[in-house]
């Protein structure tokens, strides 16, 4: 049975209307004009740069890179096919999913970008505010609206924040970029405390949501865990309170040094109490009625979200159990790559974009088209990009899993490694990026090869491995249980190892550098010895991060620097 969407509304994300489409067309026209003014010389490169950045267009080492927004990580099958078309027509037939749930195209020509944006606009997509010193794409839980442990689907509020922040007249030239994440589950899957603002939603006493508000977290050069500003912000004050935070930041955030310009530096400099006082002064002084998020507004946005029309569970669970018993490889994949769903008979599936030896997050146009087809057949046409650079089908009936897995296997997308050591998060690194000190991709590929054995990965168990090609930390190395940081060592690419980072809600921590940088191959060997040390010294059932916390970094450091 096919689950092709029969509802006029897309499942899982906001449906544009004519007003929204007109706005996107106007945005494309504006950018086309800006490109023409740049080419004619009316705009200097310095003046053009922030304008192109606010349309996601970077100038990288070898070409322009276009970063397309995927709001809260959700897109429909038609939008995925548009991305495939762009990859094929304007890039080298692939795209790269990012840690902000977006997609990047790496080989773009400036003069093509207005046409690409027009193509995106036809699919209700854009690249607005995927870069620049403005409010960036709002990220959300990749299992939103599906997870068994969820109390509230955060995507409606993520969409409200997306709209509110779009071309915000006051907050488009902030001291620095600004990232917001929102979760509706007590299990933080968005790294809320590593964001400029992290929101944790739960149900309040009056039946409307309340939000825990964290502020001033972030990775980058100065990794800091966010602090709690509010425990129970009422829904109706969500926009007003965020306005207040942004106003304080826009007024007082540093502008003299881009490395000191994020809100985390301001929060640290003022102290959380003083920062909170300033936000509260602004909040009580402002015209709250103007910014009130009425129930009616929330309802109007929610009404434009399609919801899945689930089938009864029937014998789906029993059929799945039989298939798992009959096929061991399938059973392992189900264990690692599925997540419990609130609807009986359904699961969420994480499709790994990290095959053995592959480039983390890279997907070809034919894989994109396949994913779109699978979404239409099995998951109400909905796809999700995760901040760990994988793709999720949110709502798959359990008795369809076996067929799905077989198809994925045949197309290089069936790797059973989600949450394991080869589920590597990596930035584009020096292969593309003008800021990088070292290449992230080759070392990711070597590590992926080194630990490719499914049995070995299962033996090692859950482990987050993150790679950044420079201290700007786009690969979130501080948040990895094992982090790798590319550095420049007297003109050579080299890598430092960090241990003990974690982005989970209750145990959030920043990884610590264990010692001097090594070459690529030495680093791969050092990590293998770190893993051997863990396997030798763990207690029964202890995960890597737990052993790391119990023993401290010393034994791992000894192992890493032990010469053969």
């Amino acid at each position: 049975m096919s689950h092709a969407p029969h509802s006029p509304l897309p499942v899982g994300h906001y449906a544009y209307d004519e007003v929204d489409r007109t706005f996107l067309k106007q945005r494309v026209a504006q950018f086309r004009d800006q490109v023409e003014r740049r080419i004619s010389g009316a705009l200097t490169e310095e003046e053009f740069k922030p304008l192109r950045l606010m349309n996601g267009l970077y100038l990288q080492l070898h070409a322009y890179m276009l970063r397309v927004a995927i709001p809260y990580g959700i897109l429909n099958s038609g939008q995925m096919r548009t991305l495939a078309q762009i990859a094929q027509r304007y890039d080298r037939d692939y795209g790269h999913f990012t840690t902000r749930q977006n997609i990047q195209f790496n080989w773009i020509r400036l003069e093509d970008t207005p046409d690409i944006l027009a193509l995106l606009a036809d699919a209700d997509m854009h690249a607005i505010q995927t870069s620049g010193n403005c409010i960036r794409n709002v990220t959300a839980d990749q299992f939103a609206g599906a997870a068994a442990d969820e109390v509230l689907d955060p995507r409606v509020h993520a969409e409200i924040l997306r709209q509110w922040s779009t071309l915000h007249p006051e907050f488009t030239f902030l001291p620095r970029k600004f990232k917001i994440a929102i979760s509706g589950s007590p299990q933080d899957r968005v790294a809320a405390r590593f964001h400029d603002i992290g929101l944790m939603a739960r149900n309040g006493e009056n039946g409307r949501p309340v939000f825990e508000v964290y502020v001033g977290g972030g990775l980058g050069r100065t990794p800091i865990v966010g602090v709690k500003l509010r425990d129970d912000l009422p829904e109706e004050d969500l926009i007003a309170y965020l306005e207040a935070i942004l106003r304080v930041y826009n007024e007082f955030g540093r502008r003299d040094n881009i490395y000191k310009a994020r809100i985390k530096i301001l929060v640290q400099a003022l102290g959380v109490d003083e920062f909170r006082d300033r936000v509260n002064s602004e909040f009580v002084a402002m015209d709250r009625a103007r910014y009130r998020l009425d129930e009616g507004i929330v309802a109007a946005i929610r009404a434009r979200f399609g919801v899945p029309d689930f089938d009864p569970a029937g014998q789906a669970a029993e059929k799945l159990a039989q298939q798992r018993k009959a096929d061991r490889a399938f059973d392992f994949w189900v264990r690692t790559n599925t997540h419990a769903h609130k609807q009986p008979g359904y699961v969420s599936v994480t499709i790994s974009c990290k095959p053995a030896g592959g480039i983390p997050g890279d997907v070809t146009s034919s894989q994109m088209n396949l994913l779109a087809d699978l979404a239409d057949q099995l998951s109400f046409g909905e796809l999700r990009i995760t901040h760990l650079q994988n793709v999720v089908l949110g709502h798959v009936r359990q008795d369809k899993l076996y067929g799905l897995w077989q198809t994925l296997e045949q197309n290089g997308l069936g790797t059973a490694n989600v949450g394991f050591i080869t589920d590597i998060v990596a930035c584009p690194g020096l292969d593309y990026c003008a800021l990088a000190n070292a290449r992230s991709i080759p070392i990711a590929q070597k590590l992926s090869e080194r630990f490719a054995s499914p049995d070995l990965q299962r033996e090692i168990g859950p482990l987050r491995l993150n790679i950044s090609g420079c201290i700007n930390a786009c690969g979130h190395h501080h948040a990895g249980h094992i982090g790798i940081l590319g550095v420049d060592k007297r003109g050579e690419e080299a890598f430092q190892i960090t241990l003990g980072g974690a982005a989970d809600q209750d145990t959030v921590s920043i990884g610590q550098i264990i010692g001097a940088a090594m070459s690529e191959d030495e680093t791969v060997d050092a990590i293998a010895r770190i893993i051997d040390t863990y396997l030798a010294r763990r207690t029964a059932g202890e995960q890597f991060i737990e052993t790391c916390r119990r023993l401290g970094t010393a034994p791992f450091k000894d192992a890493a620097y032990a010469t053969a």
């Binding site: 706005f23 003046e47 709209q163 007249p169 488009t172 106003r247």
Partner: protein, 162 residues
């Protein structure tokens, strides 16, 4: 330098206080540090304040009823503090006079300035007003409330522009 207001270029009749010189007669803009001097001036001219990016709008609260104009300054177009100053003048201090924006500003920022409560922009000599007008007309919808209190466009926070 000329002034852009409502799509028209017009002459700017305001003078800017010159450092080390006494205030001229006529309409004059003074820096925050010379506000008291400006308020104490005898004469028929109007008074305005020229805010720098780091100045606190709150410092104008007492004097504001006697001011006809406040100019916010963009040392470089990327420095967006002037947007917050203008909006605060309208929203917190209920300033009804003229707010103008000066310094390094791009036409692409014009609509943002207007929506933060700015009326006029100091522009270079010989500027093409049509480029600014085009920027003003680029969008017919905005996605958030602003101090201009534009009409709702459909649902949620959408506002009709123009």
């Amino acid at each position: 330098m000329p002034l852009l207001e409502n799509g028209q270029i017009k002459d700017d009749n305001w003078q800017i206080a010159i450092e080390g010189e006494s205030l001229p007669s006529g309409d004059v803009l003074v820096p925050l540090a010379r506000l008291a001097e400006g308020l104490g001036r005898n004469g028929d001219g109007r008074l305005g304040v020229l805010l720098n990016a780091g100045d606190q709008v709150e410092d104008l609260r007492v004097a504001l009823p006697r001011l006809s104009c406040v100019q916010v300054t963009f040392p470089i177009f990327r420095d967006g503090r002037g947007f917050t100053q203008a909006r605060a003048l309208r929203e917190h201090l209920h300033f009804k006079g003229e707010i103008r924006a000066g310094g390094h500003i791009l036409p692409d920022q014009y609509e943002f300035l207007l929506r933060c409560g700015v009326n006029s922009v100091v522009v270079p000599e010989g500027v093409d007003a049509s480029v600014w007008q085009k920027a003003h007309e680029a969008f017919t919808v905005a996605y958030q409330p602003a101090v201009l209190n534009e009409q709702p466009e459909g649902f949620a926070f959408r506002r009709k522009l123009l």
